[in-house]
């Protein structure tokens, strides 16, 4: 009885429903469906042979490999940082927490171009540190090191922001109980904390991986666009497009669309796991 009554109050007339669903569908089809259709059409325009050829191109392959390398460094670093920061903020009371939270959130409020600029200003060859590093043979800007640093900066908050509220809501009771029973600190972390935050951690890792693979602006500023050396996938897409090599640009783009779909599927699965 009760649920029926509730439903009746919240149910809109059929014509309202039809119009609103129509508006929502048209909006999403226009802004989300259209780009996907454009990518699909342009990727296949010159046939499967050209498609396969553009994915096998050495520059494309090295761009894919560099992207994987950057992700393999940036994401684990940020995951470890995220766990440490969440442990610190959720399990202990101390002054200055708000400042730390503000600093962790900061990369989200910085435009990608400015993020890249920050690293040029910090590590460029005409700066104090950058000059010293150059003299010792370490090149940061216009190298993959700079790309990794910029990616780490841009994706820094994801794991931490996922874990901090999660660990705060879980409190410290379980860990304390384990401690009083004689477990060591690492045992408590591995046996009690980690299983509790597992799905949240994977969720944060998924988001940072997606962002790390797709980052363009920040990476574009620090990379120097050296073909085969400092080109990530998203930078290579830009180069191909600017050279009017549309079928290759869209072939690589279609690969990114598949990756994005994968991300969305993993995200949904993790959201389900996380809420149970």
């Amino acid at each position: 009885m009760r649920t029926q009554a509730l439903k009746a109050v919240q149910r809109d007339p059929v014509w309202v429903r039809m119009i609103l669903i129509g508006i929502a569908f048209s909006f999403l089809a226009f802004f989300l469906g259209m780009p996907l259709v454009v990518i699909a059409i342009n990727a296949c325009r010159d046939g499967l042979h050209v498609y396969a050829q553009s994915l096998r191109d050495p520059d494309a392959v090295s761009a894919i490999l560099l992207t994987l390398k950057v992700v393999a460094i940036a994401v684990p670093c940020n995951a470890i940082f995220g766990i440490a920061a969440a442990w610190l903020i959720a399990k202990f009371q101390f002054r200055g927490k708000q400042v730390l939270l503000g600093l962790i959130d900061m990369p989200f409020s910085v435009s990608p171009i400015i993020a890249g600029l920050l690293f040029v200003l910090a590590f460029g060859s005409n700066t104090l540190l950058g000059g010293w590093l150059m003299a010792h043979g370490v090149r940061v800007i216009f190298s993959s090191t700079g790309i990794v640093l910029a990616t780490v900066f841009v994706t820094l908050p994801f794991v931490a922001r996922e874990l901090i509220p999660l660990m705060q809501s879980q409190g410290i009771d379980e860990e304390e109980a384990a401690m009083t029973m004689g477990a060591s600190g690492w045992q408590v972390f591995a046996r009690v904390t980690l299983p509790n935050i597992k799905w949240g951690l994977w969720y944060g890792i998924t988001l940072s991986t997606a962002r790390a693979v797709g980052e363009f602006g920040a990476v574009s500023v620090v990379s120097g666009h050296i073909r085969g050396l400092t080109n990530t996938i998203s930078l290579h897409v830009e180069i191909l497009y600017n050279e009017y090599n549309f079928s290759a640009a869209f072939a690589l783009s279609s690969l990114m669309v598949l990756f994005a779909f994968g991300t969305l599927v993993v995200k949904i699965i993790l959201e389900g796991k996380r809420s149970t």
Binding site: R17, A84, F92, L121, E175, G185, F216, A260
Partner: protein
């Protein structure tokens, strides 16, 4: 001071501070240092130049329009998604996060190819409505709307789901019409989330680069947004100019974030006091 029972305070504090220091504090303080060396007169010359003024104005108004479009349609999408059933609902719902999962350069070239005067959609719009989309401010708005799309929807949805059905029921039992229930009961409780969603989308697209760089055409004084101006200054080795602009943009987005946080704290307090009294 509470006694610390759990171990790892020193270790986690050390990792957090060192990491934040190296990745965030050090680069940001380099920008601050660089900006502090710029004299006020130089700042004025950089910021008040017609090209900069135009870029800032263009960025702000296109971001505003794009975020407003997202508020209007995002509200409808969130409403439809939480209250109605329709075929392929899960797929549509998952696709809403596409702008987040797709690299911005990929989105940028797809939108440009679709909306350019040679693209089928761009051609259709130009012949029927007489508007060119790509390489005009309109194209910038399209790219910004794409990038900011998830924000309003994803901030509104949880609030819409949590809304007290009893309030709606009470309204209905007192004889309120559907429209009255919406405008007097639902809308006021959705307003803060709507504003938060708008601000998040606005802050995101204000610094957007990847999706805009292709579709805008980057003509100074016509379609050059701030992030592109910063990049072009950097490419011309005008580091001082780039740093000055970046510092101003960072202050603006920092203020925006402070405003949302302040608004949320204020609203929560007001809401709590109203419900407890």
């Amino acid at each position: 001071m509470v006694r610390r029972v759990l171990p790892g305070f020193g270790l986690s504090l050390g990792i957090t501070l060192m990491y934040l220091g190296a990745i965030v504090v050090f680069p940001v303080s380099m920008l601050v240092l660089r900006a502090a060396h710029i004299s006020f007169a130089q700042f004025q010359i950089i910021l008040l130049s017609p090209r900069t003024m135009h870029a800032i104005g263009l960025t702000v108004w296109t971001s505003f329009v794009a975020s407003s479009i997202n508020v209007l349609f995002g509200f409808v999408v969130a409403w439809v998604n939480t209250r109605y059933q329709y075929p392929f609902k899960r797929v549509v719902d998952a696709l809403i996060d596409l702008p987040f999962a797709l690299p911005t350069s990929v989105a940028g070239i797809a939108l440009t190819a679709g909306f350019s005067p040679h693209g089928w959609l761009g051609k259709t719009i130009e012949t029927t409505f007489g508007y060119q989309v790509a390489f005009r401010p309109l194209g910038i708005i399209v790219a910004m709307t794409f990038v900011g799309l998830p924000f309003v929807i994803r901030t509104l949805e949880p609030v819409l789901k949590e809304i007290d059905v009893e309030a709606e029921e009470a309204g209905a039992s007192l004889g309120a019409s559907k429209w009255q229930i919406f405008s007097k009961i639902l809308f006021p409780s959705l307003l803060p989330a709507t504003i938060t969603g708008f601000t998040l989308a606005f802050a995101r697209v204000l610094g957007e680069f990847g999706s805009i760089v292709f579709i805008s055409g980057n003509m100074p004084m016509k379609t050059e947004v701030v992030s592109l101006l910063i990049l072009s200054k950097l490419e011309q080795y005008d580091v001082v100019g780039a740093a000055a602009l970046a510092a101003v943009m960072m202050v603006i987005s920092f203020c925006l974030l402070m405003v949302i946080n302040g608004f949320q704290v204020w609203y929560q307090r007001r809401f709590f006091e109203a419900s407890s009294s």
